[in-house]
Subunit: 154 residues, 2 copies
Amino acid sequence: MPSETNPPDQAGAFTDDYLLYLLAQASAGASQAFHAELAKDGIAVSTWRILASLYPDFRLNVGALAEQSLLKQPTLTRTLDRLTKSELVRRVHSAADRRGVLVELTQKGRTLAAEKIEKARAHEAFILKNHSKSEITALKAMLRNLRFCSAGAA
Amino acid sequence: MPSETNPPDQAGAFTDDYLLYLLAQASAGASQAFHAELAKDGIAVSTWRILASLYPDFRLNVGALAEQSLLKQPTLTRTLDRLTKSELVRRVHSAADRRGVLVELTQKGRTLAAEKIEKARAHEAFILKNHSKSEITALKAMLRNLRFCSAGAA
């Protein structure tokens, strides 16, 4: 007989043991409250990701920044234009390649990023409060590996 | 002096040790190749998520299905209309609540889901091939916890 249940009770479902689902659901679940808090301060997720990726003094070209911030280039470009206007980031010329353009934080951007990173760390501590230090270290190590694992996969 | 590096070498960056970033990046990295394979077969990610969430014989209302498939309701409704037309899912009345409508797979939908789930499991085995069974069990247990961890977080 078909089951009639809500997702948290969907025991035995394929999705309850499938890594890609668990990753997507954990990512969405863990981020929800923090993204809502950013929204209350008028900060879009795209803005937050750019600020956090450049903090404190990284200089990235647009391709590397897109990869790092998980933003598609049109969203990234639009957000960068907005952040440049608000003087949170600026474009600078690459020392290695005079035609290359890199993005970095301004002092104003760095201050805002530092403030939000403090809140992000508090959120992280809250959601990990029931886990031991060694569990957290192991989890993060596996997630770091999984970032680049798809290359060559079917 | 500011660093001029690509993301994989961005050692010491805030994002390299921040759980929410690692989750988002691991989720994107692990899914990329599988989603590309689905696209080659003409299957949208939204379709795949609905098929997988209902497999083999779950009946879910639209709210529960949105939560389970991580789709926003407009995308979900649009995709369900398409899948109903292609006879992959059907809407049935709830036994518990005569006004309630539930979604379930048709036999055709179940066959397609089974085929894609087999490929998904092969992809999962590939990306986890360097990890021990106990590491994988621990990872999945932590991800399951993180799905619902945000409630009450700042």
